[in-house]
């Protein structure tokens, strides 16, 4: 439950919420455990005779739910009937409390304002919340509806009877304790009232907690399925499409099938996600992938040449991403039929060159949209200690040179020979 502190705008929790998600939001904001926050809120409400609950309802109203920018209050402002209803209910409550104090239940006036404001706020939330939030509230209100809807289960009647007796006894002790037990009154009365509440609402709370767990599990399962579909699409389906396109080139079909098999195995059995630039891949497989993607998507020939090979790491993944961007850029802008993509693995570094013999451009007078790409290639490389340079002139094509030093751990094992062991004949 404990989440990392977030520094973004303050939001209510959308998915793990129990009521309004305020506690989840607060926990995310402060880095505290959400359960601690919830207990704290309940205690604060008890201690302040309900005034803390006002804060909760107000937060519920004005904080947008995670992933959205519009709060319920924003919508409620234009809900005239809702406001009228809230004001009406509030006034009605004030009258009721006044009557109650008149007939002797004066303690009720202590919670008068929290009661009035929270009721009005909840009315507004109910009317203006999203369908999801209304569903949550309906769920929360279920036992109350159950009470009026008659005892479906005999146990409910028993529970209510016991709770009623306890509640009466508790409030009796609380408000009018005899002199001799006056010292015990706050404690004993409070315990009895809490016990009554627990008996009435306990099973229902348990039910909610169970539902919450089940719901979360279902959501995780659905997310996993969606994730899997996306990955299968990105990897297996793409590869199958490539294989169909290259049916006349057995060598490439074999390579594609092998790469896919390796990727699928590492996903199924080692749990490694098949990202588009997976570190499980080798550099030459990555180059091939760029070639295939650009050829498929932009209908131009990519003349790819790789010298040597090595396993990918994050740095080389970034190098490939930059090269892909440069290649796509050439496909989109150069107007040439062919892009040359060259990668060479050397013991100390990996260099890649993307060259087209197209229109070219004047690096001094770059249109803004191209400059953006150039800069993103540049930034991608320098962030990881690599270098990027672009050479171009109008009418003379463009060449992007990328160099990435190899991590010390990898430099030793491969050199130019890739997976092949050093020579011994």
């Amino acid at each position: 439950m404990r989440g990392p502190r977030s520094d973004g705008p303050w939001r209510r929790g959308g998915e793990d919420r129990l009521i309004g998600g305020v506690a989840v939001g607060l926990a995310g904001r402060t880095g505290l455990d959400v359960t601690v926050v919830r207990v704290g809120l309940v205690l604060a409400t008890l201690v302040t005779f309900g005034y803390a609950a006002i804060g909760y309802v107000v937060a519920w109203l004005v904080l947008p739910v995670a992933g959205s920018d519009e709060s319920i209050a924003h919508k409620a402002k234009s809900d005239r009937r809702g406001i009228a209803l809230a004001v009406g209910l509030g006034t009605l409550l004030i009258v009721l409390v006044a009557i109650a104090s008149a007939v002797g239940a004066g303690w009720l006036s202590a919670v008068e304002w929290p009661l009035v404001i929270c009721t009005a706020g909840i009315v507004l939330i109910w009317r203006n919340g999203t369908a999801e939030e209304q569903e949550t509230m309906r769920h929360l209100a279920e036992p109350l509806v159950g009470l009026t809807g008659g005892g479906r289960r005999p146990r409910l009647v028993w529970r209510l009877a016991v709770a009623f007796v306890l509640f009466l006894a508790g409030t009796g002790i609380l408000v009018s304790g005899h002199e001799s037990i006056k010292m015990l009154a706050p404690l004993g009365g409070g315990v009895l009232v809490l016990a009554a509440i627990a008996i009435v609402l306990g099973p229902w709370w348990l039910g909610i907690a169970r539902d919450l767990v089940a719901e979360r599990r279902a959501r995780i399962r659905a997310e996993e399925r969606a994730d899997m579909a996306a990955r299968v699409h990105d990897s297996v389906l793409q590869t199958l499409a490539m294989i169909q396109r290259r049916a006349d080139q057995p060598q490439q079909v074999i390579q594609l099938a092998r790469a896919q098999e390796r990727e699928l195995r590492s996903w199924l059995f080692d749990g490694r996600a098949p990202g588009s630039m997976d570190t499980e891949m080798t550099l030459s497989a990555g180059v091939r992938q760029i070639q295939q993607e650009v050829e498929a998507q932009h209908g131009m020939t990519v003349e790819a040449v790789t010298v040597g090979d090595c396993e990918l790491d994050d740095d080389l993944g970034a190098l490939l991403e930059a090269a892909r961007e440069a290649t796509v850029n050439a496909a989109k802008w150069s107007g040439a039929d062919v892009v040359s993509l060259f990668a060479e693995v050397e013991p100390g570094e990996v260099s890649m060159f993307v060259r087209d013999r197209g229109k070219g451009f004047d690096p001094e007078a770059v249109p803004a949209d191209r400059k953006g790409l150039a800069e993103s290639i540049h930034a991608r490389m320098t962030r990881r200690g690599g270098e990027a340079s672009i050479r171009s002139a109008v009418g003379q094509g463009t060449e992007v040179s990328l160099t990435m030093p190899r991590a010390a751990g990898n430099a030793g094992n491969a050199g130019n020979a890739g997976k092949r062991p050093p020579g011994r004949s």
Binding site: T301, E303, G308, V338, P422
Partner: protein, 230 residues
């Protein structure tokens, strides 16, 4: 670069796809003289030995075996016939095998008509023609070699000191030229890059070709067989 406007070279096309042969024939136009076509190893050998063209455009993969069979058989009796290999798919070991059997160059079938004519003329003039891909293969094949040989030199069974720096190693400049070819540069562009003449570039490429064909390194064969396994 293209040869002087002297005699139009005669060409034989060897490929098992008729459609491809007629496509190439029309692309070559009248700058070369296509004198014959063959679709498999045996007919190709007899046709070429009879016509003796200047250049043979040879598919690396033929139904009756690899293109190197044709090169080997013809070269044995008619060393003056020049071969330019071409293929659609490029298993490096097949390409290297054809080159080592004596072809003067290798281009991919995706090459444009004008470039193909240029390549044929260049082979006819006795030069080597390296496509980017062949340049990559060669760099790869020669890459790990010196260290590997030095490392293996001592511990391995005696007598195998076949390392000949003259043939088994590329010079720095040759490497640089191959790199630029692999990056998509033409000879002319390479010459401008290094401020040398196109002629010098061709000398470097021919020298690489010679090393590729004459080197007796075990590694070259081994490299090819291992490539197949990856």
């Amino acid at each position: 670069m293209s040869g002087p406007s002297g005699p139009v070279p005669t060409v034989v096309i060897v490929d098992d796809h008729g459609l491809f042969r007629s496509g190439v024939r029309s692309e070559l136009g009248d700058r070369v003289n296509v004198v014959g076509e063959a679709e498999d190893v045996e007919p190709a050998i007899s046709l070429i030995s009879r016509i003796l063209p200047d250049v043979v455009l040879l598919d690396v993969h033929l139904p009756g075996g690899g293109g190197q069979l044709v090169v080997g058989a013809v070269k044995a009796s008619h060393p003056e016939v020049r071969f330019l290999a071409l293929s659609a798919s490029d298993a490096p070991e097949d390409v290297i095998a054809v080159i080592r059997s004596g072809a003067r160059g290798y281009v991919t079938k995706t090459i444009s008509g004008a470039d193909l004519v240029d390549a044929v003329l260049r082979v006819a003039a006795g030069d080597a023609v390296f496509s980017p891909r062949l340049a990559g293969f060669v760099l790869d094949a020669f890459a790990a070699l010196p260290e590997a040989d030095l490392a293996a030199g001592e511990g391995v069974a005696g007598g195998r000191v076949s390392f000949d720096p003259e043939l088994d190693q590329l010079t720095t400049r040759e490497r640089e030229v191959l790199r630029l070819i692999a990056r998509g540069y033409t000879y002319k562009e390479i010459a401008r890059e290094f401020t040398i003449s196109s002629r010098t570039v061709e000398t470097h490429v021919s020298s690489v070709l010679r090393k590729l064909q004459l080197s007796t390194r075990h590694q070259l064969t081994r490299w090819a067989t291992e490539r197949r396994l990856i």
